[in-house]
Symmetry: C2
Amino acid sequence: MANDILSSAPQTDYVEKAPKIDPKEFQKVINSRRSVRIFDGKPIPEKIMERCLENAILAPNSSNLQQWEFYLVQSPARKEALIKACLDQVAAKTASELIVAVARTATWQSRAGEMLRIFGKAKGVPKSAVSYYKKIVPFVYSQGPLGIFGLAKRFLYFFRGLSVPIIREPVSKSQMKIWAVKSTALGCQNLMLSLRAYGYDSCPMEGYDSKRIKRILDLPRDAVVVLVIAAGRRAKGGIYGERIRFAKSEFIKKA
Amino acid sequence: MANDILSSAPQTDYVEKAPKIDPKEFQKVINSRRSVRIFDGKPIPEKIMERCLENAILAPNSSNLQQWEFYLVQSPARKEALIKACLDQVAAKTASELIVAVARTATWQSRAGEMLRIFGKAKGVPKSAVSYYKKIVPFVYSQGPLGIFGLAKRFLYFFRGLSVPIIREPVSKSQMKIWAVKSTALGCQNLMLSLRAYGYDSCPMEGYDSKRIKRILDLPRDAVVVLVIAAGRRAKGGIYGERIRFAKSEFIKKA
């Protein structure tokens, strides 16, 4: 099915060279990114905030369907409601900016259409890429009314998977959520590291009332709140203690 | 419930200053990270690979329960099987290293225990932090046999949520997966950006047979394969074309 487009490379004369990078500067970003729970109130310059959000959507994402949305909540009424929906967390209350990261499970169809429109205008797009968005994407991501097509796929994959390797997900609405959340989280990490690189800090929050947030932002039913990211500059005492990580051998394994 | 520990800050004299960082170097990492689908076969020095994996587990994660695992697959037999489970994708076939990122939904209990052991040896840990791992974590993440406790929590949250904001997830096994996948994806992005910063490239793959991968790595039932990350150095033609992103106003919204 998807095998051909995956296992053979298209002919292309596109070349993108990697720039020279000083890894020490990057390592400082990784090391100094801590969850900051009290911010000093200093505003984040608009240009920096925008750059960080733009960096979020440069993360890789599944089939380039860009299943993410980032809401920068600035209206005073909405911000107040959002802080309450975050249970008045200190990080939310003291943040200079609050960003709600949202995963969408129902936009893939229109995004696939956008890909096809872009391909239509471009030169030298391989046929396999067009057929990927025309045929494979609808097959892979459709779940059908009441998830009935997903269920059918589950059976199909099970039986076909007995003899050959086969992609088994997503075959349900909840697996669609996992799919969309995954790409959105990649974007969130770009956002948080970017804030750090540009001199600011963040706190990813999961302690929130997702139902209230969906109401505040008037989000459609298919939207999943992934994280609320508080952003600003660390206040004194804003990091509660040294970073705690358990023995790395529990998490990094050679197989 | 969780409100007190979230909404009031503990007394601490811990201070962690942010270093000066050159954001231009970081921006180069973000801009030059592309999904590379053909690698040149040059090995990644062990020290660099390790540093990148260590950076993965410096990402933020839910309640510091570190619900991720990163498998660097190097045994020739396992690597061959993994490539097949990735449907012989070019990126998998040509990768110098293959890393399987796994989310765990059943390790939180032992991780909470580790946090309590660390707190037991440390000085000045606020009572609220101890009670968070002793009482709140088990309440929030337990789903009970057949998910019955999750269901009970769903009702409880629904009724309590009528009058006050309340954290509504996770209340099912599939929401536990979303929870664990989210943190693991944050780690994956750290890993991919780190590879780029140190001169290497990556391709996050979702086109794989998760069932076969679980068998290859002998993963427990609760494990979720999040991404297989191919790593190496870009070959000529390894990036298929310019980055395509739709209008940013569709994804970055001011509310």
